[in-house]
Amino acid sequence: MFSFLFTVALSAQVTEKPVTFEDIKRSPNADWLTYAGDYQGTRHSPLARITPANAGNLAPKWTFHMETSRKLETVPIVYGGVMYVTNSNEIHALDARSGRRIWTYRDDQSEVSRVNRGAAILGNRVFFVTGDCYLVALDRRTGALLWQKKYADTKKGYFATVAPFVVKDRVIVGVGGGDTGNRGFIAAMSASTGEELWRLYTIPGRGEPGAETWTDRLIDWGGAATWLSGTYDPDLNLIYWTTGNPWPDFYGGDRKGTNLYACAVIAVDPDTGKMKWYFQFTPHDTHDWDGQGWPVLIDTAVNGKARKALLHANRNGFFYVLDRVTGEYLRATPFVDKLDWAKGIDSKGVPVLVPGKDPTPTGNKACPSVRGASNWMSPSYNPATGLFYVVTLEQCDVYVSSAKEPVPMQNFAGGGGEQIPTEPGKFYLRALDPKTGKRVWDYPMTGPATMWAGTVSTAGGVVFFGDDDNHLVAVDAKTGRHLWHYNMGQPVFASPVTYEVDGKQYVTIASQTDVFTFGLHEAMQSVPVVIH
């Protein structure tokens, strides 16, 4: 009994050990140290206490209410029993076992209020971005401000929602604003001082390679935003970052050409910021099918040959497999049925277009919808099942274009996409086999087709995902069989994570205004009240 108490008392102190780059390479384990958990973006946890056999016993453990939230898109990170969750211009540290707040940092002076997708951690610092593009470094134990660095100007069309991405000794950030005109970039800042180490624009400058894919008029404002965090291959020392749509989104007449590097994935050396290769999914996009979805890095056989592969389920409806060493296109297969803008992808990775699918002033039906066949909601990959789990939307839209003068930062997107009232969309959790590109199972969801929730995979053989109808759901990773669900009473726009404290596995997801955490049910022990 004494030794038990002694052990518990010792564990009450949160570790003083700073988070290292090596720790992040080993994540996820008990901790969840990056937006995706792991550098490879698989969102697959080795935790296995929750299994198909016991998932039916999952129960809510705690709820943290975010008083100021209108729409949480945060993905928590967890280190040493402390969870960090963000909202617009604020971050909270929570006791990961109880959900009790430890500290809050809030910047009411930020000029811009936007959603926020999460934090990053290195050393004793926790990082997040404010809506007006300051990268903020805080002491992870106290929330004290260590430094902050402005990295983009809101007067040039930028705002920030990205979960910062730590590689080695640096923090990499991106920008939003590509729907109203700006010039996307990613930048690396020193984790210790905030000094900018490099910046890579996702639209080439005049005279640079790729500039010929733009007309002069919009090259300074063509978008290609970078608001989703990246993935990283430590062996190749390359980060992979996906880019947003060209601007104006739905009218391409003023930006003739393929519009590099919009709707693409770029491979970048994190030491220098140099681009090693790029692959553009949707050249000259006019449907807002931006490329911002996870580039998931796995080693697998593709077409019978072992590959260091990059998986990506794109908004345009194709599931791509690339060679992540070279960027070579390997395969693309449709992962939705509602796909009519291209007959397929040719041997070089270029879409074979179906004529007459561009937006028009009076409206033109095309599939997938503007929300995409999938989007930035996180997929996951389980090496044991060999399956890739992706949230999928079957929907078509009517796309409208407008050739109005494209004035940057005036809320002009060149048109839009509208849902067809008689053809409501439907979400599925879909398991794909990266070896073949084929679908293995589907889990259909009910709901209004408005969610943005993603998935997490576990070695216990359970996939968790937020559905389109306010639930967190657990299914069997092999078969897609329902195991458990919980109604949170609010829509979900974020992806779940899983972690372990004191030998107990937890699953957390942010709903619209709250952070919910679940674990296996155990009878509660009576607690003697000691605070009087």
Binding site: L5, A12, R97, D108, R141
Partner: protein
């Protein structure tokens, strides 16, 4: 670096008042020079009833209450000019400009200190901060202790008067997360620090050296949480008047966004 100062300041002050569209706004709203002139007029003509810092007395509190937040600038102007019949609030013959200056000053009483011009030398205030050992408990930009609130952006968060009172009367208003705690574990350790959060079931605390502890209460033999801080109560006596002014000038300038003050209208 200081590009957005005045528009932002005006926006902050204007957000509180929401004037009717047919009413004139304050032509000197947010103007630091006008606010300083207003302060001088206030000290001579208003402080007797409303308190030296707007804290109230014979007249109402002008700093924290709804009275100010819910009044438009034009309403405040009329109140100052005409007085309030049936009360001790008199009217005045001051020229319009000086009344507008008063309105601007009173409006600033509840604004974060960074947005209002204050007297004192901020550089000397930094020396006062260092000399008095404030950094032992308070951090600024990552330097300092953890027993008191981080002050890195405090001027953008708190009003000048809040800061002054927090120094001279720290026990009056203990910042959340900084109450004094002494926790005794069942294995006999005694840990002193500040309590970040607590319930009957968990205690989250930081000890005097900055270590973070997350206790389940069954791990604790005893917990004492006091509605007081570790901050000495006598800084009001230890720090002279001019030094206090400089210290407040220094703290007032600590802001999460650049703020430029000074100059004419």
């Amino acid at each position: 670096m200081y590009r957005k100062v005045l528009p932002f300041l005006v926006a902050v002050l204007a957000a509180a008042q929401q004037p009717r569209s047919d009413e004139p706004g304050n032509p000197v709203a947010g103007d630091p020079g006008a606010i300083e002139s207003g302060r001088k007029t206030y000290v001579g003509s208003c402080a007797g009833c409303h308190g030296a810092t707007g804290e109230g007395g014979r007249g109402p509190n002008l700093r924290d209450g709804r009275l100010i937040r819910r009044s438009s600038d034009a309403q405040m102007f009329r109140t100052i000019q005409k007085g309030i019949a049936g009360t001790e609030m008199p009217g005045t013959n001051l020229p319009d400009t000086r009344i507008w200056e008063l309105v601007a000053f009173v409006r600033g009483l509840g604004s974060p200190a960074a947005f209002v011009m204050h007297p004192g030398d901020a550089a000397k205030g930094a020396e006062v901060f260092a000399k008095n050992g404030c950094g032992a408990c308070h951090s600024i930009g990552g330097q300092g202790g953890t027993l008191g609130p981080d002050l890195s952006t405090i001027g953008g968060l708190r009003s000048y008067e809040y800061l002054r009172e927090a120094i001279v009367k720290p026990g009056d208003r203990v910042a959340a997360g900084f109450q004094k705690i002494v926790a005794k574990t069942k294995d006999g350790r005694v840990i002193e620090g500040v309590v970040k959060n607590y319930s009957n079931y968990e205690v989250q605390m930081v000890d005097r050296t900055g270590k973070l502890y997350l206790f389940r209460t069954p791990e604790l033999a005893d917990v004492k949480i006091a509605v007081e801080t570790w901050m000495p109560q006598d800084y009001g006596k230890r720090i002279g008047r001019d030094e206090m002014t400089d210290l407040l000038a220094y703290l007032s300038r600590l802001s999460s966004r650049p703020v430029k003050l000074g100059g004419g209208r």
